[in-house]
Amino acid sequence: MLAKRIIPCLDVDNGRVVKGVRFVDIRDAGDPVEIARRYDQEGADELTFLDITASHENRDTMVHVVEQVAGEVFIPLTVGGGIRKLDDIRRMLNAGADKVSINTAAVFEPEFVKAAAERFGSQCIVVAIDAKCVGTDPLRWEIFTHGGRKPTGLDAVEWAQRMVDYGAGEILLTSMDRDGTRIGFDLAVTRAISEAVPVPIIASGGVGNLQHLADGVLEGKADAVLAASIFHFAEFTVREAKEFMAARGIEVRL
């Protein structure tokens, strides 16, 4: 059967991977190609590159990063951050990305997702959703922008369904309540959205240990789990994560 995926996320700033990288034996710990190669060797199922500055000038640098990585690492690559125009998508795909992740632009211009899916196919359009819990009885989550600072009034579950109707092939769901906390995914919102839409869900935000990854799949019903810090710092390798999940009965590619 289809394996659950583990996706390391690399934050890229001006062509360099930032936010702590554990690989001490590689020549240059910020080099995207070397880090991507290392994750690939450890068994990463995909890689996500997040352009954290996402400025216009930085776009060319990001295209170059994707080109270099795609020339050496033969697993799927997703690029997010600052994808606002069809031409941004075209350039990333031509550089060797397999998918792009659209976040803010989807909120401000939902039709952009529709146009992108029609032009490039749903298989390469990931819509990133930043959700925050805004009610507990009943549980309710809302879409936030600007790193979780600005509410939009959009219900997260309804928004995910709408994005799938518009052609999103996958949903990257980040819990703004959990992001950076290392206390685990928000399993309730993950499960609510996974059960509400027919496309795969990538859970993100809050991973602090390997049990969290397994919980995301087993309880959150996520199809893939994305994590940054546990892989970047000297905590766990992707292979350890997969072995842990396999031991709990989760199908993974080992």
Binding site: L2, F74, F120, S122, Q123
Partner: protein, 216 residues
């Protein structure tokens, strides 16, 4: 020096497939092209594709590549990938029914999505079928050299091929029922998954294809 032409008709990520072929065998000359003569003079042809089938067929017809693909398949090894596999069948039910190239008898159908009320024992079926899944070769073929033991390959698709002749099915994959994840007939080998995105085993399959000499 062996040459391989990757057919460029504006559908999909040709950079990846070209790089992967080059990586799989650095001695091969890889050309990404829509030029009839270049394709017909190459030793081998790769027919990739992602996106919707109607756009794919329209682009092939506009560039007159449909005839070129038929001609190439009659003469030399041809590797179809993803939409390039689906386009080889008679027709696809995508886009309200689309006639395809008819090189492999059969049709292309959509995965049935889960309705949400499936019993808990049933696997919830997400569509597209996206991610890594095992490929079980059903018949001996040189492209499976070293890959005959249910290896993992990367898939992204919502439709799959149903060849009329079971002898054309070169491999199956479970989602949740077995479907044809590779077909083979004469000079044609075609795979639903993406060998160019399937790490070492994907490169191995490409290297095997680049070495394959079909029996006349």
């Amino acid at each position: 020096m062996s040459t391989v032409a990757v057919i460029d008709y504006g559908m999909g990520n040709l950079h990846s497939i070209a790089k992967a072929l080059q990586h799989a065998d650095p001695s091969v000359i890889v050309t990404v092209t829509a030029d009839r003569e270049t394709i017909l003079h190459a030793d081998r042809v790769v027919f990739p594709g992602v996106g919707a089938i109607r756009d794919c067929m329209a682009a092939l017809q506009r560039l007159r590549l449909d005839a070129v693909i038929r001609e190439a398949a009659a003469e030399k090894p041809l590797l179809g990938i993803c939409l390039g596999m689906q386009a080889l069948l008679d027709s696809s039910e995508e886009n309200g029914g689309t006639p395809c190239l008819g090189l492999i008898p059969g049709r292309v159908v959509r995965f049935a999505e889960s309705t949400g009320n499936a019993s808990s024992s049933q696997q919830e079926l997400k569509v597209p079928h996206m991610g890594w899944n095992r490929v079980h070769p059903l018949r001996a073929h040189p492209v499976w050299d070293g890959l005959d033991h249910d290896r993992w390959f990367y898939f992204v698709h919502s439709y799959y091929a149903q060849p009329t002749d079971p002898r054309c099915i070169a491999a199956t994959t479970y989602y949740p029922e077995p479907f044809a994840s590779a077909v083979a007939k004469g000079n044609i080998i075609a795979v639903q998954f993406h060998p160019e995105k399937s790490q070492a085993d994907g490169l191995r399959l490409l290297a095997n294809f680049l070495r394959w000499r079909p029996e006349p």
